[in-house]
Symmetry: C2
Subunit: 196 residues, 2 copies
């Protein structure tokens, strides 16, 4: 299955590459690729990583759409071309995974109106404003509603990706991936130590 990761300038590196590392551990099943609206080099916020991307228009296999957050979302929510493209891709995707303020980009498409979702806690009120008709759940490490997975801030994306692996392949596979990464998995999506 293809993981199509949507990047934009000032994305948060760990939001994208944490889940990517989880899926990469099962590289015979999942292949992660990186896209942006126009393709080319995209730079992460604060960590200064310059990543080569392909244009989003080149996506042909609509398996899993992965949308990280980051300071860039503050302007990208008003980028109609990006939001319209994300809406199109998210409609076609079998699963859509958002991390942190990546949930704001998805919310802006209108696709999760009346659905449950979460986001990071420091930006929660701003994310909520992007679509107040989403059933925003503050106290959640991650939330699943149908094909939509959304996680809290940054590191929660790793927990969510392992949760996705668990749902798709069982708990033992998820535990094995976490062990290979020497990652202490918070496996309970309702256990959010940062919500208060």
């Amino acid at each position: 299955m293809k993981i199509n990761c949507v990047l934009f300038n000032d994305f948060t590196a760990l939001d994208a590459f944490g889940p990517a590392e989880v899926f990469g551990c099962l590289e015979k099943i999942y292949q992660v690729e990186y896209f942006s609206l126009s393709g080319g080099k995209i730079k992460s916020s604060r960590t200064n990583i310059e990543v080569t991307t392909k244009p989003l228009a080149l996506i042909q296999e609509h398996d899993i759409l992965l949308i990280p957050g980051g300071f860039g979302t503050r302007t990208e929510v008003d980028n109609r071309a990006l939001i319209n493209t994300i809406r199109d891709l998210a409609e076609k995707a079998r699963y859509v995974l958002t991390v942190c303020t990546g949930s704001a980009l998805l919310a802006k498409t209108g696709l999760i109106t009346q659905k449950k979702a979460t986001s990071n806690k420091l930006s929660f009120d701003w994310v909520r404003e992007q679509d107040t008709d989403v059933e925003w759940i503050r106290n959640a490490r991650w939330v699943v509603d149908g094909k939509f997975y959304s996680s809290s801030g940054v590191s929660a994306g790793i927990d969510m990706a392992l949760g996705f692996i668990c749902d798709a392949h069982g708990i033992e596979t998820a535990k094995a991936v976490a062990k290979g990464m020497e990652y202490l998995w918070n496996a309970d999506k309702d256990n959010d130590p940062f919500s208060t």
Copy 2:
């Protein structure tokens, strides 16, 4: 302070970008840059991230050297040009941080002979062979010996980077960074859940 991150093909993304995210949270103090032996594009193992790097020879500020691990280390330990360059940079650096099998690259330089170090558990015996006169500590999330910080596998690098922040700026700063990343920090470097 500059964090000079040494990349090579088939590095593990989270080994590098986990600690980078930690330091990026204090971007007024730490700036992360990415280098490789010849510069240019470097690709991560399994996660397929193509990162733009500068040549290692361009490093001018020798604050902190960050060396991730990954499958690429299996061949890079025999890359004399890289090992010699790492030795030179590590000698000049104020601090050297290695993650996972990045410890093997540092060990190969001979600079940590008779010093304490750790590495990830699945490759521990292979790492040990790179310099059997290092005091390898299996049961450790991370190890500090003078200016050398070394961590266990992948995610342990995030714990170590937070440990470095704690040593340099105090526990409250480290906790604040972990909270901003919504990361459940394993703050005890001797607590290694993966050593057995």
